[in-house]
């Protein structure tokens, strides 16, 4: 699977966020390079939710941080509202970046343990000195805390360790919304919460997104959750894009990238039947991003792999309506 290729990108002017050929590499201790993200492209439209799925270690979180330039990507471009962030000075970047906000998996580590809830939520405002009017800031903090389902009076003066994981995550969301972002990046935000809280958070995110017209980048390893909230889904494998699809594709009889099939199979079914009996069910380790396979990166685990997959990296092509698949061996449905 490769996933270089930009056939799936929408019209340039439409996109709120447009990421092209994003590459993130880290220097490993031994002098080798970790190829965390190797040239992925995607875009997010205003009001759209794009889900990114893939197993741990495939570079999902790295993409999120690279989009925020925390740290800066190795190469590629990140264009937010037609401004290329990669070309900005540090100061301009600091200003532009505020329009994107980030929420992390670990709700407790995301909050400074020495600050109280009221200060945590108002932090952004105080950084930008938009808080000249104290009363207005305070009423907005209260409003936001209420909108994420917290009682401001109860938690106003609390420290993060006095809150539950779910409450901390809500505080994080309120803090991000305080900056009136256009794009919210959610990195595995449900993974550390229990199932009942997960569904509450999903509903909260959906509602907030609708009310504020937010674009959402929703990262998860759980295809079920991603399907629930997304408009489009990007399937990542080892730093590359395997497949980009409209969410409806999951509900219809269609073709998929072999890796997507593997992920679909891993979603527990009520019937207990294997939907794709041809594929190996056992768990396999991801190849090392220090030394990724040549050609298609998925070939070491792919049941369809051929000699061509070793030689040549497949490009993303529209192989079915609303589905871009990077695979040599999946036959196209559209023609």
């Amino acid at each position: 699977m490769a996933g270089t290729g930009k056939a799936h990108l929408k019209e340039k002017t439409d996109a709120r966020l447009r990421v092209e050929d994003l590459v993130v590499e880290f220097q490993a201790k031994s002098g080798q390079r970790v190829h965390a993200v190797s040239g992925i492209s995607f875009d997010i439209l205003p009001g759209e939710t794009v889900g990114i799925v893939g197993e741990s270690g495939c570079g999902k979180s790295t993409v999120a941080r690279a989009v925020m330039h925390l740290p800066q990507p190795t190469s590629g471009s990140v264009v937010l509202d037609n401004i290329d962030l990669t070309e900005l000075s540090a100061e301009k970047l600091r200003e532009s970046r505020v329009r994107m906000q980030l929420i992390f998996q670990d709700p407790i580590a995301s909050l400074n343990p020495r600050r109280r809830v009221k200060d945590l939520v108002a932090e952004g405002v105080s950084i930008w000195n938009r808080g000249d009017d104290k009363a207005r800031t305070e009423s907005r903090v209260r409003e936001l805390l209420e909108s994420v389902g917290l009682d401001p009076d109860t938690i106003w003066n609390r420290y993060p360790y006095e809150l539950s994981g779910g409450q901390c995550q809500r505080v994080s969301i309120a803090r991000a919304l305080m900056m009136r972002p256009e794009l919210l990046i959610c990195d595995e935000i449900l993974s550390s919460l229990d199932v009942s809280v997960q569904s509450q958070m999903l509903n909260l995110l959906k509602r907030t997104k609708r009310e504020l017209g937010l674009s959402l980048m929703f990262i998860s390893h759980d295809l079920g959750v991603v399907k629930n909230i997304s408009d489009r889904i990007i399937v990542m494998y080892l730093g590359k894009v395997a497949e980009v699809m409209d969410v409806e594709a999951l509900d219809r009889e269609t073709i998929h990238h072999p890796y997507t099939d593997l992920l679909l199979e891993s979603v527990p079914k009520v019937t207990g039947e294997r939907v794709f009996p041809g594929l190996p069910g056992e768990v396999q380790e991801l190849p090392s991003p220090l030394n990724p396979p040549s050609g298609c990166r998925f070939r070491t685990r792919c049941p369809l792999a051929t000699a061509l997959c070793v030689e040549e990296e497949p490009q993303l092509e529209e192989k079915a309506r609303g589905q871009f698949i990077a695979c040599h061996n999946v036959a196209s449905l559209s023609k």
């Binding site: 906000q101 343990p113 020495r114 803090r175």
Partner: protein
């Protein structure tokens, strides 16, 4: 083993828990007593040191006023001198309390300065990395390479020994360890997501260091500060003993112990044992308190 026998142990331990639950509270009770003793001791020393000029103490410094007083008296023998007198007839009890003023001031102030400097330098080095970290690293390693006592003696020959110069010398000795501690803590905290979030919200490096990192780094350094105070009190006493610290007639615990030099200790052991005991109890108390604080805060870190 037959199946029914493996189930037995479920009912068996009924008798055993009783002694276990008995032992635990007793142990805690004992430990608390020790802690309270240390707190009371430090409280008494600190209060006496603060209010020394208001207390009805006998003469501690001016030997011209004690010409008529008995000299080298052991404790509890002369009325008005509960802990006896020294070679000049000065009251040992009063000298201990005035000595505490110097030992505590120097110890606490030096640690406060060392913590402030160490936290600032260590945190900024750990967060900013690069050339700044290299400079701080070289500075720290250089200071650590010089033996502390030799550095202190060298400094006291250059600077005129006074409370202020002693404080700064001791702060200098304490700072490399504190810088390293702050830097290590910073590296750990920088990995936490709240630092990334602060940057995403637009915080500049200065704000990240001051608002996000320092409060956390300082808290984790706090428990060590008590241990450092006790180390520096001992260092100050060592300097006093070697004659390069606070000079006579101003009393400090170190130079009081030094009064026993020259064969006087064999004749008048109380000259040495009384200040040494006070020094020991104070250092012990600071250490124990520091240890308890560390345990307590570690626990909270875990519950985070």
């Amino acid at each position: 083993m037959p199946q029914h026998e493996t189930r037995r142990p479920l009912a068996a331990p009924k008798t055993t828990p009783i002694p276990v639950s008995f032992e635990k509270p007793r142990k805690n009770f004992h430990v608390d007593l020790l802690l309270w003793f240390c707190i009371l001791w430090l409280g008494a020393i600190v209060l006496a040191a603060i209010f020394a000029p208001l207390l009805p103490l006998a003469e501690a410094q001016d030997a011209s006023k004690t010409l008529m007083e008995p000299t080298n008296q052991p404790p509890f023998t002369v009325p008005g001198h509960p802990l006896g007198t020294n070679g000049l007839g000065l009251d040992i009890f009063a000298r201990l309390i005035y000595g505490a003023r110097i030992s505590l001031t120097v110890g606490v102030a030096a640690v406060a300065i060392g913590m402030a400097v160490g936290a600032m330098l260590g945190t900024s080095a750990g967060y900013l990395r690069g050339a700044w970290e290299a400079v701080i690293g070289v500075l720290t390693n250089t200071l650590l390479a010089v033996p502390a006592l030799i550095l202190l003696i060298a400094l006291s020959t250059v600077l005129r020994p006074s409370v202020v110069s002693l404080t700064f010398s001791l702060a200098l000795v304490a700072s490399p360890g504190l810088i390293r501690l702050a830097r290590a803590n910073t590296l750990a905290f920088t990995q936490r997501e709240f630092i990334t979030v602060a940057r995403a919200l637009g915080a500049k490096p200065g704000r990240v260091i001051l608002r996000e990192l320092l409060p956390n780094v300082l808290l984790s350094m706090m428990s060590l500060s008590f241990v450092y105070i006790s180390v520096l009190i001992v260092a100050e006493a060592s300097l006093g003993f070697l004659g390069v610290g606070i000079r006579q007639p101003t009393p400090s615990w170190g130079n009081m112990i030094a009064e026993g030099l020259g064969g006087k200790m064999e004749q008048y052991p109380h000259l040495v044992f009384i200040p040494a005991t006070v020094l020991f109890l104070t250092v012990f108390s600071f250490n124990l308190l520091g240890e308890r604080m560390r345990k307590r805060w570690d626990k909270r870190e875990v519950s985070l």
